[in-house]
């Protein structure tokens, strides 16, 4: 009789505990990177998707936490202007960078870009994390 392929049982992780702990220890960006890896390993895990969304939300909340909120106007950093090839930007990030002139606010960017608002804000947070832009508060 041919042996039946055996699917290994999906591990049941306590994502709430793991993600909460990682947020405290490593901060939202390191946690987000780990979650991207975990999502690749467990694409069917709906709870994991939810925890990834919570971390993305935290990142966007931190971006908007300054007193100016959506009225803040991002600026390109000297590092970026000196050596922009060093930054491995996606097409969306490149498009956003092309709009930044130090006067345009986050709110105006949301109106100008064709992407959904959350993706735009998340990409702005990512650019700030990579030190391609600064967002004066």
């Amino acid at each position: 009789m041919a042996a039946q392929p055996v699917t290994p049982p999906r591990p049941q992780y306590d994502w709430a505990k793991l993600v909460g702990h990682s947020l405290k220890q490593n901060g939202p960006w390191a946690t987000w990177e780990k979650l991207v890896e975990a999502r690749r390993a467990y694409p069917e895990d709906m709870l994991l998707r939810g925890y990834a969304e919570i971390v993305r939300n935290t990142i966007v909340r931190d971006l908007l936490a300054g007193p100016k909120g959506l009225q803040a106007a991002p600026k390109l950093t000297p590092d970026f202007l000196a050596d922009f090839d060093r930054f491995n930007l996606t097409a969306q990030e490149g498009y956003l960078i092309s709009l930044i002139d130090g006067r345009i606010t986050l709110e105006m960017l949301l109106k100008l870009t064709p992407f959904d608002n959350f993706t735009t804000l998340f990409n702005m947070a990512k650019l700030e994390h990579q030190k391609a832009i600064t967002i004066p508060s």
């Binding site: 709430a16 935290t58 959904d116």
Partner: protein, 341 residues
């Protein structure tokens, strides 16, 4: 089983039986014999087989696809439950509780609720209409205090209508009259309208309510009205528990399989206070609410998430909650695209 255990089982009022997957009964206590008599063997055997592609309940229990079910037998309703950790892998211990009177009482309660709710909606609609009319009259020149009081009355009557509608949905679900139909639904449009309808409340509470989805989402079929109600309910919950300057994002992504769309995953995520792990397990049950105190008042019936779950399941989907205390919560709805008309 030893004699003491057998004697104990024969003297308890609950009907107990041990069955194999093929439906054969290897043990039955006295209460089971009294309830089911000689017809039990045939009945159990019938329920162990798949009928029209659907698993029989006993087969489903063995496949770990269920652990309790309500069944009709000779005009009575029995709640059958699997007794955990009893019976081993080839056989299963089951308890049978006669819940006929309980179910009749629940039906009567449901009918009564439905009637009361219908009767409450009529006069409340009249009050709402009158308030809206007075507030819309530019020539009325209301004193600012009176205007504010009227607006407060209008807001509260709207809230009361929400609670009444929740009760009405609940009674429909309980009576089995909850049909979602098969109209075409544009999920992108539905989410955009849901965000738009609560945008002013989010702005008032200085919360960023943000869309996190594209427009190229496949169509589903079902009830646009009911799904909108479910999404609005989830966003409203997030608004209650998210502090000022927080973020609520509404996302949707297509999950693909074999080159085509398999399902759409909708997420409603907030940067609110999160939910305690103990509360997460039963949040979708009737009358259950988190122990968290709403930041913006407005207690509910405790039926909101129960209704959301019923709506999602009526569309063939499922809902999960991810939450981290002090960080935020995400509601994840997985809706299959096989429902496309």
């Amino acid at each position: 089983m030893n004699e003491l255990a057998l004697s104990l089982l024969d003297n308890i009022p609950t009907a107990i039986a041990v069955a194999r997957e093929d439906g054969s009964i290897v043990y039955r206590n006295n209460a089971f014999r009294e309830c089911f008599g000689e017809g039990a063997d045939e009945w159990m055997a019938k329920n162990s087989h798949a009928v029209a592609g659907e698993r029989g309940w006993l087969q489903a229990f063995f496949a770990e696809k269920g652990h309790s079910v309500d069944l009709d037998y000779n005009g009575r309703v029995y709640h059958v439950e699997r007794i955990p950790n009893a019976g081993g892998s080839s056989q299963m211990a089951l308890s049978f509780e006669d819940v006929t009177r309980q179910r009749e009482a629940e039906q009567a309660k449901s009918d009564f609720t439905s009637m009361i709710v219908h009767d409450l909606r009529g006069p409340l609609s009249g009050i709402q209409g009158t308030l809206e009319f007075v507030l819309s009259q530019e020539t009325a020149r209301l004193d600012s205090l009176y205007e504010e009081l009227l607006r407060e009355a209008s807001r509260e009557s709207e809230r009361m209508m929400g609670l009444i509608n929740e009760l009405l949905d609940f009674s429909k679900i309980e009576s089995g009259n909850f049909d979602v139909g098969d109209d075409p639904i544009s999920i992108a449009g539905l989410l955009r309208r849901s965000v738009h309808s609560l945008g002013s409340i989010a702005t008032r509470d200085t919360i960023h309510l943000v869309s996190a989805h594209g427009i190229d989402l496949p169509m589903l079929s079902g009830s646009e009205e009911k799904l909108t109600q479910a999404i609005i309910n989830l966003i409203s919950n997030s608004l209650k528990f998210t502090p000022s300057r927080g973020v609520i994002s509404i996302g949707a992504q297509v999950v693909r399989e074999g080159g085509g769309p398999r399902s759409i995953v909708i997420t409603v995520t907030d940067s609110g206070m999160g939910i305690k792990a103990d509360d997460l397990n039963n949040l979708f049950e009737k009358y259950k609410q988190t122990k968290n105190k709403s930041l913006r008042g407005g207690g509910g019936t405790g039926l909101g998430l129960y209704i959301v779950k019923q709506i999602v399941e009526a569309h063939g989907g499922n809902i999960n909650i991810a939450s981290i205390e002090g960080v935020g919560t995400s509601m994840i709805i997985d809706l299959p695209v096989r429902h496309v008309a």
